[in-house]
Symmetry: C2
Subunit: 596 residues, 2 copies
């Protein structure tokens, strides 16, 4: 057995004989001596093979990169001046006494320390890619996060209960992955999009506090940060109100950061209503590291001689906002042009701006093609309300509410993260958690002409908002909350409906008729009739949380065997064709095959 991991050899082992297992990270011959950088999951150590040791030296000569070896040797100090401060083992080296090749390696298709590999190469050779220290670090950190979560929740009486993977298709929400049943011809299981209804039923069953770190599935077109299967930290508790629930789970996030990365998050996480977040940042997941805010100015622009502003200013479905950039007067024209193009991605038709050369001289001190079309009163009020100073820049968004929020919201973040933003103090490098609360119950879909659940249909309306369900769904706010960290939604949840009558009203507001509700959610409605307790919970996206904590570029870097954006596994070649016999047993047939 090994004495310790290779990466752990240090001065404590001085003059001891150690046995190590690992891989040859690099071998070099230097002055007739062979040096091996031996690697295992804990790191690297330097092994010296002296030609005096004839047998070991002969073996070492045959060794190539990525050979798997056992090495026994004496730990000694490195010669003066050759310490490697980057390694935990950097003060010592192992004088090799014995070396055994446990398994040879053909030449790897790439160097492990090559940082410029395509993702296709990395995913095809994932087994080697995972040997890279960065991937070892990511998956180790991921494990530490889950263990910190488990220990925290365990200490509060949460118990892990497994819910089914083969469950019922309820085509509300995202597209399901389906699994044909062999025993029940013509019927299908669905893989769970979340354990939502099961965890609610566990609350009705009296388990009081539940959690699960579990796979969920959505068959959606994949974006950069999406995977067909993803992992949720899924939690639910009974008998607590919204504040108490948030308290438990911000405690969990604090615990995880403190345990795993020794980072102290704020003692209390700030809260902000959804309405305020949309107003100030145009986003329900504002990145509070960015020190920029929207200023609503529609009321000032109603009567200006500039249609681009006055039209939306007079349309209740539109919005006109200013985004003041302190010091932005020095922003080069090329950068402004780039931002103009950038907001186009979000549907903005242009990007109006004003340079504030002299805030005390209006209008002469303002530089912009649009200034001449806006009367002085409006300009004065604008400067006053935004608090703009000489040397600042003001960007404008004027369009449908969603376009303004998306475009100027993204612009705000883009500028904050830019070199300009960092140089001008518009960005604070830190962890900025925020609870966004009081979400609307429903979102109206213009195309389909009906309301959809903003969170999900099991979310409780706020106290006093129950009546809006029938009278004016758009006014109803929910006991829903998202935990936002540096502009990423890392978790979200709600207090659930625990009364069957309220649940029925919500289904009505969603245009889900009684019969349809029974068919899809009958088991939930039944469960609510038997003394369901008040309950609520939250779900965190583990992949995303770990991506943030590791600073990885993509969630694929924190998943051992991820799928590509075409939902394929390049390592195992899944999905793949299957035998006709298998299809026959499942009572299905390929459509493509028929067409032939």
């Amino acid at each position: 057995m090994r004495t310790c991991y290779t990466g752990e050899v240090c001065k404590d082992h001085l003059d001891q004989t150690v046995t190590l297992f690992g891989w040859v990270h690099r071998r070099r011959d230097h002055g007739g001596v062979i040096f091996i950088d031996l690697r295992d999951r804990a790191g690297l150590a330097q092994v010296v093979v002296d030609p005096d040791n004839v047998e070991a030296f002969a073996t070492a000569e045959r060794i190539r990169n990525e050979f798997c070896v056992r090495i026994t040797g004496l730990v000694r100090l490195r010669p003066e001046g050759t310490n490697n401060a980057e390694l935990a083992s950097g003060e010592v080296e192992i004088l090799c006494r014995e070396i055994e090749i446990l398994n040879a390696s053909v030449t790897p298709p790439f160097q492990l320390d090559d940082d410029n590999l395509s993702e296709t190469t990395r995913l095809t050779h994932r087994v080697l890619d995972l040997r890279r220290p960065a991937m070892q670090y990511n998956l180790m950190l991921r494990y530490k996060v889950t263990m910190a979560v488990r220990r925290y929740l365990d200490s509060l009486g949460f118990i892990d209960i497994e819910t089914p993977m083969l469950t019922k298709s309820t085509p509300e929400g995202a597209r399901d992955y389906l699994v044909p049943s062999r025993v029940n011809a013509g019927q299908f299981f669905a893989l769970p999009q979340s354990p939502q209804l099961f965890k609610q039923m566990l609350m009705v069953s009296g388990f009081d506090r539940y959690y699960q770190i579990t796979k969920c599935f959505r068959d959606e077109d994949l974006r950069a940060d999406r995977q067909p299967e993803f992992t949720q930290i899924d939690c639910e508790t009974s008998f607590l109100n919204e504040e108490e629930i948030r308290g438990i789970f911000e405690g969990m996030v604090r615990h995880v950061f403190s345990e795993v990365q020794q980072v102290a998050l704020p003692e209390t996480f700030p809260t902000m209503t959804w309405g305020e977040a949309m107003q100030r940042y145009g986003s329900d997941k504002p990145d509070l590291r960015v020190k920029l805010e929207f200023t609503d100015v529609a009321d000032l622009m109603k009567d200006v001689d500039f249609k681009v502003f006055s039209a939306p200013a007079n349309d209740p479905k539109s919005r006109v906002v200013a985004l003041r950039i302190p010091g932005g007067g020095s922003m080069p024209r090329s950068e402004i042009d780039a931002y103009t193009k950038f907001v186009g991605i979000y549907g903005a038709k242009g990007l109006a701006y004003i340079k504030v050369n002299d805030a005390a001289a209006i209008p002469e001190g303002l530089q912009s093609p649009i200034v001449k079309n806006i009367h002085v009163d409006a300009l004065k009020a604008l400067i006053e309300r935004t608090g703009a100073q000489s040397g600042d820049l003001i960007f404008f968004g004027a369009d449908k509410i969603r376009v303004v929020n998306d475009a100027i919201g993204a612009l705000r973040v883009k500028i904050g993260h830019s070199e300009f933003g960092r140089e001008h103090g518009l960005f604070e490098a830190s962890w900025k958690p925020l609870w966004v609360i009081d979400f609307p119950m429903f979102e109206y879909d213009e195309e389909e002409g009906r309301y959809f659940a903003a969170h999900h249909p099991f979310t409780s309306p706020k106290d006093g908002h129950e009546d809006y369900l029938a009278s004016d769904p758009s006014r109803a706010l929910a006991k829903a909350y998202d935990l936002v960290l540096n502009g990423w939604e890392i978790g979200g949840g709600s207090v659930r409906i625990h009364r069957a009558d309220v649940q029925s009203k919500v289904f009505s507001a969603l245009n889900i008729g009684e019969e349809e509700a029974r068919e899809k959610f009958g088991f939930l409605l039944d469960a609510l009739q038997y003394g369901a307790p008040p309950h609520g919970g939250v779900a965190f996206g583990l992949d995303r949380l770990v991506t943030m904590m590791t600073g990885a570029e993509s969630i694929r870097d924190v998943i051992a065997f991820p799928k590509t954006q075409r939902a394929q596994c390049l390592l195992t070649q899944a999905p793949s064709a299957v035998d006709e016999k298998q299809l026959r047993e499942l009572h299905i047939r390929l459509r493509a095959a028929e067409a032939k």
Copy 2:
């Protein structure tokens, strides 16, 4: 918030005002006072509602079974003589000050303490069924087992790494559950039967020690102790030999029993070769609580005038064994008849036996229709070899090896567990773990005329057995091991093949051609080329382990939402029909629909 769980109220709370949340387990009126047995996941407590408290009393009068309530009251001693020793809270009661109905309940379809419910009723109303204290206990214990496992493995440096649920179909082994791909028309994912190949690849990637408590899937016809989805404690480690691996995992089982149930399992688990287990018990998972063993007697019966014995005695594919039942001479005829019928289930054509009335007088002291056909020398040798004493009974099995093993193996267990067996000291109530080792590499399938892997095709042959792979596969033994506990296989594993050339030889022995091997397992063969470390592991069936520990009757009693034997969820009505649109998106069509 609650003061504590209802079931935890005790003398420590005397004279304190407590707030409890829970369900009304029972309400009774007695002498003008209302008694409520309040229940939560921790147990029951008695609440007394006095008519003096007009408001609370009025509320209590409206309360019915399974209402969900909040109760605030004063903890006091129960009146003398009314203590309930069965409850942790049995010395105290709560004098109700306030009671709030959090949610009413319609009348449940059954009493929670009704122990005679059909499984259909229980699974249809699973939400209520899970409120039963036994089910709460089972799932709580299941959680404690997983947490004890995690803590133990964590302390040894094992890390939990998630492997994919959407993976590749490799139709070797059981039938796969398939998932049609929408993006890749005509292709399918398979749900994993186990993470076997992924965990091996993680070893090749250098993670050194892996575990996962994860769902696995097999689309097989369901027996009593099978589920379409089941949970495995899946582990793998590098650089350890077979004994070291077994040492780690018997330590895990010891830790779990000690932590969760304060049961001390043996310091070292005994090992027995597969060959010895089959010889002595006719089973590779012998229940060592049963004090009965096979005695092989074929050599004695080769020349007897009793075809039933002499024919199999002279056939190398058959077996003749005696099973001595100490004290069995007193076994009533009806019981022997029942056993004769019982062995028929396993294909035995009858059940010969001899009553040993006087072991010193042979043949007169032996009572049996078959004695006259067996010569005295054979009878004498039989009595001597079995060690039979006066008053014993000897059963015989004489048939093809498999029939004898199955029939007499089952008979051995049946008698051991019977009232007779318990009364005659043939059964020792205790935990009897056993490692069964040295399994054969292959099993020959007469029907298909080829070898199959006894464990799986990635199992390493024992040292020195590599040459048998080509020359005589039936002789090759494997570095495979099963952990057996009281006759149940709770875990199994092996040292894996870490060299590509050995893996190829095993594929050859299994008649898997080079091309087929590449197509199905190319990624594994590739991985083995890059300095794969020696590695091995084990997988435990969590459902079965917890079933044993709880003493539950079925694994369905330790799973929150199990499937029936027709692979259906009676609660949610899964599987179910899906929309034509969903099928079209998945490029499949129902066969049944075409036939119409």
